[in-house]
Symmetry: D2
Subunit: 134 residues, 4 copies
């Protein structure tokens, strides 16, 4: 079991149920995606063709910021406000979709864009699944 | 003129127009609000009545995370994707509205909650104004 | 292999060598620790004895901020400045040591503090090992 | 008076004294510098000569991360641990010095690097002054 799952299950207000897996998947996917996007922006900067990767770097940086905020908000279980969760997860879904689209354009040329796109798609799907459960 | 305005105007892709003031106001309001919410969560922790401020601390922490991400995303002007901007500003608007509501409940008792609520309302209005311009 | 390892190895400037494992361990430990500290601060807020956990919440929040920044800085491999890496990893080591100490004080009473302390100790050790390699 | 000063002074544990001004200056300078570095990295991305600005973008991104974490840590006044404050402010001082050096190299060519370097120098000085007071 991951550390995030341990933290989730040791929370005094923690509840079992179908949402547990959906929330944990957003926490883990978004945390991983924030790191992947930070690394992908930096890897793009090291490519000779950095000129052609400007839009990719931009979307990586936005995606890293939003995924990090989303993982933090979802990691909290005290006095949860559903309106906040929905709005944040919806923003995360949109940003991961757009960043995934952008990274996929360069996936054949740059393996870091391929790996990063996979992280974005995982997070996009996790957000979709959680939003569908509301 | 603020440093954020100087940074905005010295960007090579910077454009004049009505959006300049609206975007700058979100950058400055959200940056200030992230700091205020971080400080308010901590001030609540130092109150004797911390038990009654748990929901306020929770919304402060969420609001700080989302405002910081929003200020960063809006600070970028390269290869801007309107779908990302809209989704992020909408999430910021919701979180600031809810955190402003929560802080206002304690504004008569705790001056830090009153000041923080003002920061949330400023950011909520700034997000509303920018969303209306799209 | 983790996504962080995939991102590291697909970077165009990536180098093999003993530092690879040390840097990756800081990235993964600090990313995990940021999440654990965010969750632990929130779990403490939900305890009836929140009054006695105020210092723990404070150190959790500091540790989450510093670990997140550290994971991001270490995730970059372009034009690395060793003075920056050293200073950031040293700060991360100190914060993880102090937060681990604080969480261990509550580990018998609160399982989330025990799990969080483990995450802090892992990151402290990872920072120590990387600092020793400079 | 700034919102950060209002938040500082309404904290229940707030103390008058010479440190008040030194801490507030780090909070305000580092908050401003995080925004300036985020914007400068993005402005560099929009320059035709992005190839020659890769090291500048890298240091901007590191500096933004560390300054944001520093502003958050300093914004807290509850159960403060001096060892944490010192280590974080020292890291911030180093990163601002290096990023200021890098941005100054491009200050004649790019006004955004000049403005960003000023923000880095202000924060470096604020950290120096606070460290000297310990």
């Amino acid at each position: 079991m991951s550390r995030a799952a341990d933290m989730f299950d040791t929370h005094p207000g923690h509840q079992e149920g179908p949402d547990r897996a959906l929330i944990l998947e957003v926490i883990e996917a978004a945390g991983e995606c924030a790191q992947a996007c930070t690394a992908c922006a930096d890897a793009c900067l090291s490519e000779e063709s950095v000129d052609s990767l400007v839009a990719c770097i931009r979307s990586d940086l936005d995606c890293a910021d939003v995924c990090a905020a989303t993982a933090s908000v979802l990691s909290r279980q005290t006095a949860t406000d559903e309106a906040i969760i929905r709005a944040v997860v919806e923003a995360c879904r949109v940003v991961c979709e757009r960043c995934g689209d952008e990274c996929e354009r360069h996936a054949d040329m740059h393996a870091h864009c391929r790996v990063c796109a996979e992280a974005c798609r995982r997070t996009q799907r996790a957000c979709d699944a959680l939003l569908a459960a509301f």
